[in-house]
Amino acid sequence: MKAFAELLDRLSLTASRNAKLRLIRDHLASVPDPDRGWALAALTGGLTFKEAKANIIRRVVEERVDAELFRMSYDYVGDLAETVALIWPTLHGANREPEVSEVIEALTHAKRGEVYGLIENWLDALDADGRWALLKLVTGALRVGVSARLAWQAAADYGGVDVADIQEVWHGQEPPYVDMLAWLDGKGERPQVEAHGRFRPVMLAHPIDETTEMPRLNPVDFVAEWKWDGIRIQAVAEGDIRRLYSRTGEDISHAFPDVVEAMDFHGVIDGELIVLRDGQMGSFSDLQQRLNRKTVDAKRMAAYPAGIRAYDLLAEGDEDTRPLPFSERRARLEAFVAAIQSPHLDLSPLVQIEGWEELAELRANPPEGDARLAEGFMLKRHDSIYEAGRPKGPWFKWKRDPMLVDAVLMYAQRGHGKRSSFYSDFTFGVWTTDEVGQRVLTPVGKAYFGFTDEELKQLDKFVRNNTTDRFGPVRAVTATPEFGLVLEIAFEGLQRSTRHKSGIAMRFPRINRIRWDKPAGEADELGVLEGILIPTGT
């Protein structure tokens, strides 16, 4: 448990992706089976224990600690698991510290009445870090800033294999992944991946460079599809198994029972998950009503029906179609989707390419309908096989140009990790008129990339030299019509938002240019943004 506790502790405080990868990789290298595999299962969200709940933990601690002292402590610390971990009175001569595997084993088989005693004994045996890790583990809420994808990448680094290999093997394995880890150690064969319901690593596209790459490509070799503004998913229905995977291979079936029910086929579809009402696509903010949920109720499903817009077929029946050229997969996909006949599934139409200029014209002025909600085009070679990863050449994405707005820097916050000595997170605003007719700034977004290291130094200097107020790690800077720093912000879209004072939220904002030359008073007005709001659905 000690090594696992240290791993969680470090991960929770480390911002750098590379450092996180190293921490997980080292853990896999230094901790024996089965504990390292259980750690991987915990990090990828693969462990849940029905009977271990926050109220049991509260009861356990109230038996041991004066209620008044506990209340004062909880008020101060602000987190139940952490308060319990810190306040638990150490019992000298307590039991041996449990291993991660013992905890998991015991909880898996524990009856409701037994959980209390187990947790109490373990708390006695562990130190504060260990208690914290234990409580995170048993309640299943790790929240250490590690995605399943990151954990797989670390495993891939450890074994010197491609992350796509890990993803492919993963869903045919059970925690604690002893066979997979033996293979990564170089001591065993690559585990079989023929299992039904497994995830197939996805093929991704490179952004295309219009000025250098595009003229060299022959439009005759390619076909275009609209790039839908949803989330990439993989729908797998094989035998009795039906699963909906995110593009990184996380199983998200539980949140989309309406889609899963419609997956009445035998095969694997690659497509976009969108809100689909009577064959019409909803906006991304509609889709957000369905994302990041553990469960969904009937009312929400009716208001925001989800569906798949299919664009590729990776398996038909038990036949792996990935080695076939795109044109052939596409022909099979059309017949496959037509046979299913479900309001939760349709086909992403092809756009024939007359020439790059004609396509550019279409990209700038899409026709009425769903195309207006597209982010641009996907370009796929007729002869492209389905390869995992991001191969250079067969597929490109050609996004619409971002929208731009000139905003004024209002606040800056210190970054983390490498950037902890820099003010690197910038909140910016545009002009509006307040109740008394005064021209004031209202914050519309926050950006923390888009600039070079050199520009970051200049921005940081500006913040330090023009600070008007401080709140913890945040500084307010001078921002008046007479003096302020104008930032040209690029973004992908706007949505209405009740959480923001300005009433709008930006998608993917970043700093496109620093307008040292532009007077702050000439930055844009809120009205400019309101003019380009995407209307939300019902």
Binding site: L13, Y76, V77, E82, A128
Partner: protein, 292 residues
Amino acid sequence: MATPETLAIMAVRYGSDFAQTAQSLEYGKRVNVNGVEVSLHPAGHVLGSAQVAARTKGITITASGDYKRRRDPTCTGFEPVPSDVFITEATFGLPVFRHPPDSHEIGKLIHSLQQFPERAHLVGAYALGKAQRVMMLLREAGYDETIYVHGALEKLNRLYESFGVDLGPWQTVSGVKSDFAGKVIIAPPSAIADRWSRRFPDPVSAFASGWMSVRARVRQRGVELPIILSDHADWDELTDTLTELNPTEVWITHGRDDALSRWAQLNGMTARALHLVGYDEEDDEPIEEAIE
């Protein structure tokens, strides 16, 4: 009136004319001040730190000042003084503050040095006492490389050495970025977030403080490697000391007097909070310390 060590520290910090008159008093020696017998006793907080005991008409009142009970290689250990009234500090007077063993905490730093040998390890530590203690704990853990320190630490380090604390090889920071890969650099906490820290390669920001046991505090400061190390008594040390001394009355100053009062009450002691003006919860272990 102070211990010789404290007077020396004050001279370094505030200049040799820091007071009009100064009276040096060694630990354990008694002097009579207007009919009250006064003596100083080791508090174990930092070099020269003292409790003050005052005796008159058969009553002894002892003010702990800042103190800790665990061993510290840079100063004399705390000496319990039997007292009728004990005035205790309570900086970490909440039962969530239980500082782990020093060797465990310094072990985290050593492990990180092995794990990230290309990164500088920047340790924020209060310049008086904490910085020197971190250095000594590293030495005890077998770390014998040169330790780099911020310029603000130089005079105090020399002073500690003049009182016989052997800090091993150290020097103030100078050199190019790559010189600091895998090295330990100790600096006042405020320097960590300052532009000063940009001279180091991809630094791991560590912070040696008792506040580091609470994650919200760690995150708030952007610390990547918290080292829970305090020169103040933790909850167990505070309550163990009260149990050991068992004074007729306990008076509690700066810190969480509410929680410690509650504990005293549960344990049948008479306690009262003094609510001294001018002390904030954190005044005593400065989270930010002005440099420049």
